[in-house]
């Protein structure tokens, strides 16, 4: 092994993915076609809550080139989707593949029309006559939780499908009279992940072998394959799920979708390839949404600025169904889980309710729970600082968990270990020159957010509590074929992260070959026995760990073989730049030569050294890698238009060993941009009639190139985690830190008006209302 020497890890290796993606040869699911392929379009519910009275397909079926129309009854052999959990007090929901009778959200699929092309399928949809009975939509989260009659799932007799309390210490022991209380109700608006590529699925069928191949714009091909087996009864060796080039995911492509199962079921039934490509409207209506919480929170501190207790109630609006496989627990539980942040607070209490409503299911969205948690705790800290008249950076430093206090278990049970909270905070403060930049000017402000995050989690920690799914390990298979070509296969599914490049850097270092000589294979379930995919900031730590293990194993074996061939001890041999060399001599072997001797030459080697050059290793880090960052933003508000402009933005982050700095920076920049969206622009707005007011990209605004500033980023590599590669996940942190930093900066810019932001996004409209209301008083 090359000891600590790394030739490729830590370097800006340019991405191998880029050439094809730039020159038009990328292949996204919508780009894939097969001869004889039919297209599917869906009739979707135009109301949020109701019942189907009747459906008349006669006219639609008469249309030329319409081949079939499927309703619930035609697919009722597919049992309802149930997302299991072993959490106590969890009531699973049943989701039918197509609406049976009850409609639970706007856009829920009712009928699948199969036609020659999408145009004709949509013509047919317009000819379907459907009669619906409207029911009162359940939209308001708090009302839904208190409802005694109107339920999204009447058989459950409640809209609260999961409840859990976290507590540590006892607030009754604290003399509250002497303490300062900061108590607020916070609101985080509902988001959509909005990858630029809408969801799409194509299912091909091989009639000779009776095999199906689903091309899916998914982050989790392994999970989809397992679900196809479970729900469609298709054997694992007859279905392959391939995630080709995927145009972003951000969590929105990390769950199972009904359309995904339907496309496979119809291809199987009609024995012909089937394609469905979501349009943007469908994508906005039906891709899993994110966040949406109301959080009542109270921070108690003493007058010296020591945090004493944090109490909260989290009301999470999870939409109509408990999402598969993550369950309703995923988002709201993470809010409570991370609410305490990086601070020492002895007394902690949080009650979390996961509440159904007539909105699309929420699922993972970049940051999961933590953007809301950070918004709440970091706002409370700034509010406290204002109240006791202390510098917000000082108040943080007073309470932050220091290096020598770790491992430290916070109130929700999470253990922080080997994480540079204080160091990142100090670094960010100096990067932006905080004390200088702090301003008393009206309409200008600066905001800090610092947070803790768990990444690259192993089998002992669940992505969502109670979820019966192993997300804690990854496998890699490294092969050197008869020509000496090297490939390494993984169960992850890159969708913009550049994993084909970063994993080849890792293999390259540990095997002794150049990254561009390695073919990384991923996103294809038939290439690997098990793997779930790419989500939850796990791929670098887990797949990177498997890559190290398998490369070391391969290297060791190659050294054994070479030692025999060159007739020198192993220790005398090195592998570098694709050459196996005897140190201090000219004796060399190339990989093609080695392969020829192993596979084709039946004389040189004893039989036991002639076994195929295939190596498999799995990696499970068991626990997770704690990480942190501090974000600091400065903003300026236009007092006439109330437009909020972000002027400066710094991030100091602790991401363990950096594999490719350029890619890490790109993840931070993109993550912050989404956090800016979450803080300033983005909200899926359902009105009281259950209609979506933001159903186009002209209404659901995401940041553009004028909204996102240049971000200055500093990486701290001093806190290395206990995993094999010393990698920490960093795909989500950008989004996690931005909400709190921006909310605090905006509150600071409004200090002359005594306005504190408690609701995100804070749009110019909302700001106007806040200011007008204040003036009225």
């Amino acid at each position: 092994m090359n000891k600590s020497k790394t030739k490729y890890v830590g370097k800006n290796v340019l991405r191998f993915e880029d050439e094809r993606l730039l020159n038009g040869n990328g292949q996204y699911t919508a780009d894939i076609n097969f001869p004889g392929m039919y297209h599917v379009a869906f009739l979707r519910s135009e109301i949020s809550h109701g019942e189907i009275i009747s459906i008349d397909l006669e006219e639609a079926k008469k249309l030329e080139n319409v081949y079939d129309i499927f309703l619930y009854d035609d697919l009722k052999h597919i049992s309802p989707i149930i997302s299991k959990s072993n959490m106590k007090k969890y009531l699973p929901t049943k989701q039918h593949i197509l609406c049976k009778k009850r409609i639970r959200y706007l856009g829920e699929p009712i009928a699948a029309v199969v036609a020659k092309n999408r145009y004709i399928a949509e013509d047919a949809i317009s000819l379907i006559n459907i009669e619906l009975k409207e029911l009162e939509p359940i939209i308001d989260t708090i009302n839904a939780s208190n409802e005694t009659k109107n339920f999204v799932h009447p058989s459950l007799k409640t809209n609260v499908i999961l409840e859990r309390t976290f507590s540590q210490g006892d607030i009754k022991d604290v003399n509250q009279n002497e303490l300062i209380s900061i108590k607020k109700i916070f609101k985080m608006g509902r988001k959509t992940p909005l990858s630029m590529e809408p969801r799409s699925y194509v299912c091909d069928i091989n009639k000779r072998t009776n095999e199906l191949t689903l091309y899916s714009s998914t982050q989790v091909p392994g999970i989809i394959k397992d679900a196809i087996m479970t729900y469609l009864g298709i054997n694992g060796n007859q279905i392959t799920v391939i995630a080709p080039d995927v145009g972003g995911g951000f969590g929105g492509k990390a769950s199972l979708y009904m359309e995904e199962l339907i496309v496979v079921a119809i291809a199987n039934k009609l024995q012909t390839p089937i394609k469905w490509v979501s349009d943007r409207y469908e994508d906005l209506l039906t891709t899993s949404q994110g966040f949406e919480e109301i959080i009542e929170a109270e921070l108690l501190l003493d007058e010296k600025g020591n945090f004493i207790s944090l109490n909260s109630n989290v009301y999470g609006d999870i939409g109509a169904y408990s999402i598969y496989p993550w369950t309703a627990a995923l988002e709201p539980m993470q809010v409570a889980g991370f609410l305490q942040g990086p601070y020492k607070i002895k007394n902690f209490y949080s009650n979390v309710k996961c509440i159904t409503s007539n909105k699309p299911p929420t699922g993972p969205y970049r940051g999961v729970g933590r953007p809301a948690a950070v918004f709440v705790i970091e706002s409370l800290v700034d509010m406290a600082a204002r109240k006791i008249n202390m510098n917000p950076s000082q108040l943080r430093l007073n309470n932050i968990i220091r290096k020598n206090e770790q491992p430290y278990k916070i109130g929700s049970g999470i253990v922080w270990d080997k994480v540079g909270f204080e160091e990142c905070l100090r670094k960010a403060l100096s990067l932006i020159d905080y004390d200088k930049i702090k301003t008393t000017k009206k309409w200008e402000g600066v905001g800090i957010a610092t947070y803790g995050e768990l990444t690259g989690i192993g089998s002992k920690i669940s992505v969502a509590p109670g979820m019966p799914l192993n997300t804690g390990s990854e496998t890699s298979r490294l092969e050197i074929d008869s020509t000496g070509s090297i490939s390494a296969t993984f169960g992850i599914a890159s969708h913009g992260q550049g994993l084909e490049t970063t994993l080849s850097q890792v293999v390259g270092d540990h095997l002794g070959v150049t990254p561009n000589s390695i073919k990384i294979k991923q996103g294809n379930t038939s290439l690997i026995t098990h793997g779930t995919g790419t989500y939850a900031s796990r791929s670098a730590a887990l797949a990177g760990g498997a890559a190290i293990k398998v490369s070391k194993k391969a290297r060791n074996h190659i050294l054994n073989v070479a030692s025999f061939i060159l007739n020198v001890p192993k220790t005398e041999i090195d592998i570098e730049d694709n050459l196996i060399t005897q140190k201090n001599s000219n004796q060399k072997l190339s990989f093609p030569e080695l392969s020829r001797i192993v596979y084709s030459d039946m004389q040189t080697l004893p039989i036991k050294l002639r076994k195929p050059l295939i190596f498999i290793e799995s990696y499970d880090p068991i626990f997770g890698a704690s990480t942190t960052a501090t974000h600091i933003a400065t903003v300026k508000i236009n007092p006439e238009t109330f437009k909020i402009k972000i002027k400066n933005y710094v991030v100091a982050e602790d991401c363990g060993k950096v594999i490719n700095p350029m890619i890490v920076d790109g993840q931070v920049q993109g993550g912050v941009a989404q956090g800016i969206g979450a803080a300033l622009f983005e909200e899926m707005k359902y009105n009281e009639n259950g209609q979506l007011e933001t159903a186009t990209l002209a209404d659901y605004l995401i940041p553009n190139s004028l909204d996102v500033p240049e971000i200055s980023i500093s990486h701290l590599e001093d806190f290395l985690p206990n995993n094999i590669g010393k990698f920490k996940g960093m795909g989500e942190g950008g989004t996690i830190g931005a909400t709190g930093a921006i909310a605090n900066a905006v509150s600071d810019a409004l200090k002359h008006l005594n306005i504190e932001i408690t609701e995100l996004p804070i749009t110019p409209n909302k700001l106007y209302t806040l200011i007008k209301n204040k003036e009225k008083k």
Partner: protein, 159 residues
């Protein structure tokens, strides 16, 4: 509904003479009829810019045009970019600056930058950001796209 119309158009230097459905979108025509899938469809309502192509040298959103509106025009799509040195350079700058992650939005940005490059005007960074603000990218946070555009456009010669 299946009214067919005659269409003569030049795409990436190749002349086509065919009949297409009158209601066929230009984006679908390129992608599904000519298999030029480098042009992407992200919204079909004119906001995201992933479907941007060049028609007679000017950028246009192919999702907002019918195929028949390409009649008599010279169209360029991203597939032509690797061939010519000037556009090849844009691709290389995107690689060097890590200006793409998932690559879905990328063809649109390439088109806009190529248009700016061929205009006779010099641009400040802010003007570049403004010119790019009509295209959406969800992955990169724009910084590296702006960097590449800056490098490409600040070296441009004004004839």
């Amino acid at each position: 509904m299946s009214n067919e119309i005659q269409l003569k158009t030049t795409i990436n230097g190749i002349e086509y003479d065919l009949t297409v459905p009158a209601r066929l979108l230009a984006s679908d025509f390129l992608r599904d009829h000519l298999n030029l899938t480098g042009t992407h469809v992200g919204c079909e309502h004119g906001i995201c810019g992933s479907c941007t192509i060049k028609i007679d040298g000017l950028t246009a959103r192919s999702c907002l045009k019918f195929a028949v509106q390409l009649d008599g025009k010279k169209v360029e799509t991203v597939e032509s970019f690797k061939e010519k040195p000037e556009t090849r350079n844009i691709l290389e700058k995107f690689k060097a600056n890590h200006s793409l992650q998932c690559g879905f939005c990328t063809p649109g940005f390439l088109m806009i930058i190529d248009e700016l490059l061929k205009s006779k005007i010099k641009f400040s960074e802010n003007e570049i950001r403004e010119a790019l603000s009509g295209n959406l990218c969800r992955c990169t946070g724009y910084e590296n796209i702006v960097k590449a555009a800056n490098e490409i456009l600040t070296h441009k010669k004004i004839k």
